[in-house]
């Protein structure tokens, strides 16, 4: 008996991290450390970085072979003291640091995702980022046709990739994950629909073009989500129950995350946007409660659907706050279609939704990624060539 047990423990301890994976993570870690160097030594002195990041940079970016660009980056690097990748987070197409944002930061974050679900979630965020950039540019009146074409191409590319990942997961039988992807994309796109809708008139109809495409994808995502949810509900009872319970946890997490996000951004987003977001969050809470009741009544398929809905509503609240910070705007919803859909999912708000904000001159960080919620401050860098 004792032998069996010891043998058992020995077996367990034989499991090992594969050489490949271990080395890969080591490499990733090294790169991450170089991009996010320790700014303070344990003694507490501020460290001036000579930036090995620069060498890392050259390895990764083709555009640096232009001498002027290299000079610009060098200046930026020295000034920023190694926090370049962080500063790049708010770059827009056309900015000096934009290639850093896309080719370094985003590449890196894509690499950090091991599982298919993590990859997909990052892709959803990437899609959102492209739309957010378009919105910011349109609000500034700088949304040109070349940029519009690029945004369009990227949008197609990302949503296509997401479709593929979801299909692969469905083929493996993991419909829950596929449903989650569709739901996440749906929420992101819906939020951007509203923001783009408010910018309709801008950029000679280019915003309108993108809006149309986004609407199509939103509908596709919604339909795919419906199908996936139906498939989940059709599974064996224990599986559906587990899926619903898992989703409950995820929804609770999401709501908590958005709650703290709103609390942090309240001052910057302004009273109206915050109030609206809070109302949505309340709606999300209600939907969650409904889901719990269904779960207790053993209607697990319905519960799963409701929990996903709660997550989407919470995500929308977050995107609303983020959107109102990004652009100075009245998010008056003149689009009847949108209003109808909103009413189906959310309790109707009082009157129209108005958002008043001031354009911030400080650089804000996207707090989509949990990692960035440490609350590091970025630096605004402008380089003239």
């Amino acid at each position: 008996m004792k032998d069996n047990f010891e043998q058992f423990i020995r077996k367990a301890r034989q499991v090992r991290f594969s050489q490949e994976d271990k080395a890969r993570t080591h490499e990733l870690l090294s790169r991450y450390m170089r991009m996010n160097p320790a700014r303070f030594r344990a003694e507490g002195r501020h460290q001036v970085q000579r930036s090995p990041f620069f060498q890392e940079f050259i390895k990764n970016c083709k555009f640096l072979y232009k001498p002027m660009m290299a000079l610009a980056v060098l200046v930026v690097t020295v000034m920023a003291g190694g926090g370049v990748s962080l500063a790049a987070e708010n770059a827009l197409p056309g900015d000096v640091l934009y290639p850093v944002k896309v080719e370094v930061n985003e590449e890196f974050r894509a690499m950090l995702a091991f599982s298919q679900e993590a990859k997909a979630e990052w892709k959803v965020q990437q899609t959102g980022r492209r739309l957010q950039e378009a919105e910011k540019l349109a609000a500034k009146g700088e949304f040109g046709s070349e940029t519009a074409a690029k945004v369009d191409a990227k949008f197609e590319q990302h949503t296509q990739k997401l479709s593929e990942i979801a299909s692969k997961l469905e083929a493996k039988g993991n419909v829950e994950a596929a449903a989650a992807i569709h739901s996440s994309l749906e929420a992101t796109l819906e939020a951007h629909e509203r923001i783009l809708g408010a910018l309709r008139g801008e950029a000679d109809g280019r915003v309108e073009e993108i809006l149309v495409k986004v609407k199509v994808k939103t509908r596709e995502a919604r339909e795919a989500r419906d199908r996936a949810e139906a498939e989940v509900s059709a599974k064996a009872h224990t599986e559906v129950k587990e899926a619903a319970e898992g989703k409950l946890g995820a929804a609770q997490n999401k709501i908590a995350e958005v709650k703290s996000f709103i609390a942090k951004m309240e001052a910057r987003a302004g009273a109206a946007a915050t109030a609206d977001a809070k109302a949505r969050l309340e709606a999300a809470d209600n939907t969650l409660a409904q889901g719990k009741t269904r779960l207790e009544a053993d209607a697990c398929g319905e519960a799963f659907v409701l929990f996903q809905q709660a997550m989407r509503t919470a995500q929308e609240a977050k995107s609303l706050v983020q959107g109102s910070i990004d652009i100075e705007l009245d998010l008056d919803d003149e689009d009847e279609e949108n209003e109808q859909e909103l009413e189906e999912e959310h309790p109707p708000a009082d009157g129209e939704i108005e958002v008043e904000t001031e354009i911030e001159t400080e650089v804000e960080l996207e707090t989509d990624n949990e990692r960035e919620e440490r609350g590091r401050s970025g630096t605004q860098i402008e380089v003239e060539l």
């Binding site: 090992r16 994976d21 030594r41 829950e176």
Partner: protein, 163 residues
Amino acid sequence: MEKEFLEAYEKYADALFRYCYFRLSDEEKAKDVVQDTFVKTWDYIAQGKSIAEMRAFLYRVASNCIVDQYRKRKTTSLNYLQEKGFEPRLDIREKLETEIEAKEVIEVLQQLDEKYRDAFIMRYVGELSVKEIAEILGEAENTVSVHIHRAVKQVRLLLKHEG
């Protein structure tokens, strides 16, 4: 500092992976968590904070990440996993033998009560002290001891029936 950190990685990554693997029953998620853990730990260090006991710190961060994973998706039964094509894949060299053995281990572990299982894994796979486990789980040391003890009993029983 960077050098020390990477040394710590080389030293602890295997055991940490093992720990995550058994608590999550999922190789991919375990890899995600291991990576997350070291990244978050580096963030902590990069802010100038010092870590007294690296190993304990890593396990604490990992445990938090694992809880997050639990919330995202409840760990499913082994049968369900097998239907979906879950095969515990491991280092190629020792593949066949260790695969089978790992599967056996997971099968047994899956039958334990969740509370007992976590404490058991932390003690026997993670090799954490009862005190450390109590801190991480936020439970009294006594409770942890009881859980571990009960887990061992259950495991012994299950191994007996396996023949």
